[in-house]
């Protein structure tokens, strides 16, 4: 390690102001601080600091995403071979196929996103913020496996530039960058982001698909009134939906893998339990309410089953809890999370054109988060004013 440190110290002057590679200063700094925690000590205020920093925080979230990623790789392969009617494909064949499909998307997302981040950091003279380490992993996980790589690149670039950097970078954005990427693709290239043919790798080409295999997601089926798969023993029954062996976006299918990630976020205290809990509660309550009405097929899906379908769990655990785009007051988090759950199920049930309401619900609540905070802040202000009146 000493040798590495000495080497870094040796080449460092080249990246300082006036050095040969001055323009790569932010990039050098990002890699240097990745390898070595900086030697900077506190100049004002407290003399000791908590060991946590932005890198650690983001690294924990990425770690929490790993189960969903690994499951997604396996499930991508599994769904592909199921569509081909080769249910007997061995584990490594399945994983191998999935990896070949999924990893390139991850790589493209990171390379494009980080490239742009490094550029902006250099332009602004900032250190590179770590926010994209998470966004770069979230983006692939909310996309279907067959998405063309160039679309991933365009969507990532759009989300980083328009979704984040125009507002001032990590910490300043209004909406969750990963959802911006997905929303961009959803509205710009609907043929690659919706319908029955895109969720299972290989379906869109249609070669070798067994007769009668639809490749639709549970919600896609339900939206057109096909409820057989959701019944007990169907392809999308509660157990299969929970485990995640159903078609869908890469990382969203397995509620189990997502819950493992949720445990990591909750134990470390990095994800807000208030948002997660209230999002699930909101979804559950809303679904129960619809059960009571029962006016269409989707309203009749049991509440627990609703929470395991589509991107609900993924959104509630990883997207809603983004502290930057979410509510920032502690009380506000309950309201924010609850409404995400409510709206996600509501959009899903009422609008068959967008069976996937979670993304829109979260983006909507991102927009309203400052308003929720405003209400909470006003309450605090009112309490303070009231105190004066009581005393006077």
């Amino acid at each position: 390690m000493k040798a590495l440190r000495q080497y870094l110290d040796k080449i460092k002057p080249n990246f300082e102001k006036g050095g040969k590679f001055e323009k790569l200063h932010s990039t050098f700094d990002a890699f240097e601080t990745l390898l070595f925690v900086s030697n900077k000590t506190s100049k004002s205020g407290v003399h000791i600091h908590d060991a946590i920093d932005s890198k650690r925080t983001m690294a924990v979230v990425v770690l929490a995403l790993i189960p969903a990623l690994l499951f997604g790789i396996w499930n991508t392969g599994l769904q592909h071979f199921l569509a081909l009617g080769q249910a007997d494909a061995d584990f490594w064949q399945v994983v191998g196929y999935g990896a070949l499909k999924v990893l390139p998307i991850v790589v493209v997302s990171y390379v494009v996103g980080l490239g742009i981040e490094f550029m902006f950091a250099q332009l602004r003279g900032h250190e590179v913020a770590e926010g994209f380490l998470v966004s770069g992993m979230l983006i692939p996980l909310v996309l279907p496996a067959d998405i063309p790589l160039w679309m991933v690149a365009v969507a990532t670039a759009f989300s980083v530039v328009i979704g984040k950097e125009v507002f001032g970078g990590t910490g300043m954005n209004i909406w969750n960058p990963a959802l911006i990427a997905r929303a961009f693709l959803f509205f710009a290239y609907p043929s690659k982001m919706s319908g029955d043919l895109i969720w299972v790798s290989g379906m869109s080409k249609g070669e070798g698909i067994v007769d009668g295999y639809s490749g639709a997601t549970a919600l896609g089926d339900a939206a057109v009134g096909k409820m057989a798969g959701l019944a007990d023993g169907g392809v999308f029954d509660l157990w299969n939906s929970f485990i995640g062996i159903i078609p869908g976006s890469i990382g969203e299918t397995s509620t189990l893998a997502i819950l493992i990630g949720a445990v990591v976020l909750l134990v470390t205290g990095i994800g807000s339990w208030k948002i997660m809990l209230s999002a699930f509660a909101g979804g559950f309550v809303m679904a129960l309410g619809f059960n009571a009405i029962g006016a269409n097929e989707l309203m009749n899906v049991p509440a627990l089953h609703q929470l395991c379908l589509g991107g609900f769990a993924f959104g509630a655990v990883f997207m809603a809890t983004d502290p930057v785009s979410g509510a920032r007051t502690e009380k506000g988090k309950y309201i924010y999370g609850f409404l995400i759950g409510v709206f996600a199920i509501m959009i899903r049930v009422f609008n068959p054109a967008y069976p996937e309401g979670v993304m829109l619900a979260i983006l909507l609540m991102n927009t309203f988060a400052p308003l929720i905070d405003h209400v909470i802040v006003q309450q605090n202000i009112k309490r303070r004013l009231k105190r004066v009146k009581v005393n006077a």
């Binding site: 650690r56 988090k333 004066v388």
Partner: protein, 449 residues
């Protein structure tokens, strides 16, 4: 005694290096300094020049805008040097002690018969006035104000803090006399915050003071938190605060007629070999207490505690309001992949380091930032360590945008830097919270005057 006030939100940072409850042997230093920077917002006007002979209680400089507020020499001797910084700003007035302990005679005064004006006058002329600080703003009090009450915190809950039970025991007579004098200054009485888990013998049943027992983690011992819990500051309210040892000095002034700058301080920190209490004076050079008494390595010498103290260096001086010296490692080295390590030896409120499994362990923390500054990302961190009905993040943002109305609405009058020091400690984005709060306070003072 009233009901125990339980503080729930907060944090006790478990550092290694607490001082033993014994007096260590150390000589009095030769040099003493009074630093204008200890008094935020002060514009000093020098009253001496190098070479002048002074006694304990002789004026060194005064407040340029409130000329009756005087800052005096803690010892007798000769003004050695006036150190100046950028734009000739006075950094410290250094006095070389002659070890004679000569003191100006201000005359004793029977407090019970004195008026408020007489007490004020005596405190002003003797140079003890600057130890009375006011909330809001945590600056030296204004002699013409009538404070709603005077608050004293009789315990310090910050890391490695000195034990005031130990320090004040043996000085109860002076403490009581000081309380009597303070009672003359306010109609709202003197309030003492005590730690419910400690005996607090010198502080309970002091005539003329109401005690409020507190329990819970730091910042329970911060006087600002105690005021907030007992009688929160509204716009227009003024409270004064004093520290226990300063009350003793005030008591001595009225009993004996002299300015006695004696202090008992705790020498603490992981890098100190013999941690103990020592008898010294305000503004003492810290060299006799740390020379030969610290471990090897790159060190940081702090007058005060690790949260709100000042980095004074090896040859620095004890701050006017401080009762503690802390020495910790500077930590100015690189750590390979430090952010990714499992982190058994790292202290963090977040449970992302495995150290949360060891609940009793004491840590040897250094002054490293442990990361780079970022925009505010994580939410809710500050709320967990600020036991006030205040939204810290929103207040900080109001200060950063210089929104005076919002600052006022969100409670700028109720806070001082020290109350939000823990917010700065836990901040993932390494925000300089305390200096932001001071910026806000400075802005308020400017706008409101």
């Amino acid at each position: 005694m009233s009901d125990v006030i339980k503080i729930k939100r907060g944090l006790d940072i478990r550092l290694t290096g607490k001082a033993e409850l014994v007096f260590g042997q150390a000589e009095m230093p030769e040099l003493f300094a009074v630093k204008p920077a200890d008094f935020p917002g002060l514009v000093p006007k020098l009253a001496v020049k190098p070479g002048d002979k002074v006694k304990a209680g002789s004026v060194l400089f005064i407040d340029k805008y409130r000329t009756d507020i005087k800052f005096v020499s803690p010892v007798s001797g000769e003004v050695q040097v006036v150190n100046r910084g950028e734009r000739r700003r006075i950094l410290e007035v250094v006095v070389k002690s002659d070890n004679q302990n000569e003191a100006e005679d201000f005359g004793a005064l029977e407090v019970t018969k004195a008026t408020k004006e007489e007490v004020t006058e005596k405190l002003l002329s003797s140079g003890l006035w600057p130890f009375l600080r006011q909330r809001p703003y945590n600056v030296v009090a204004n002699p013409t104000d009538a404070p709603k009450a005077i608050f004293i915190s009789a315990f310090d809950s910050s890391p490695l803090a000195p034990d005031y039970d130990f320090i004040i025991s043996g000085q109860e007579k002076e403490f009581k006399a000081g309380i009597k004098a303070l009672n003359k200054l306010t109609e709202g009485g003197v309030h003492i915050g005590v730690n419910n888990e400690m005996a607090s013998k010198p502080f309970i049943s002091v005539e003329g003071a109401t005690t409020h027992p507190f329990s819970g983690p730091h910042p329970a011992g911060n006087v600002g938190i105690q005021i907030h819990k007992v009688s929160p500051i509204n716009k227009g309210d003024i409270y004064w605060t004093v520290q226990p040892q300063e009350v003793v000095s005030i008591g001595k002034l009225f009993l004996e007629g002299v300015y006695d700058a004696s202090r008992i301080i705790a020498v603490t920190g992981s890098e100190v070999k013999k941690r103990s209490y020592v008898k010294t004076k305000v503004g003492a050079a810290i060299t006799p207490y740390v020379n030969g008494n610290v471990e090897e390595g790159s060190l940081r010498y702090i007058s005060g505690n690790v949260l709100i103290g000042t980095n004074v260096g090896k040859d620095g001086y004890l701050g006017s309001y401080d009762s503690q010296i802390t020495v910790i490692p500077e930590g100015d080295d690189y750590e390979f992949m430090g952010w990714a390590a499992p982190g058994f030896g790292k202290f963090s409120v977040s449970k992302s380091f495995f150290s949360w499994l060891c609940t009793k362990k004491e840590y040897r923390l250094n002054a490293n930032l442990n990361g780079g500054p970022r925009a505010i990302i994580v939410s809710g961190q500050y709320d967990k360590v600020l036991p006030m009905d205040i939204l810290p993040e929103q207040l900080i943002k109001a200060i950063l945008t210089e929104d005076i109305d919002k600052m006022e609405q969100l409670g700028i009058y109720e806070v001082a830097e020290e109350d939000l020091a823990l917010c700065e400690f836990v901040c993932t984005s390494k925000l300089e919270v305390q200096s932001i709060i001071r910026q806000g306070i400075d802005l308020m003072i400017k706008e409101m005057s």
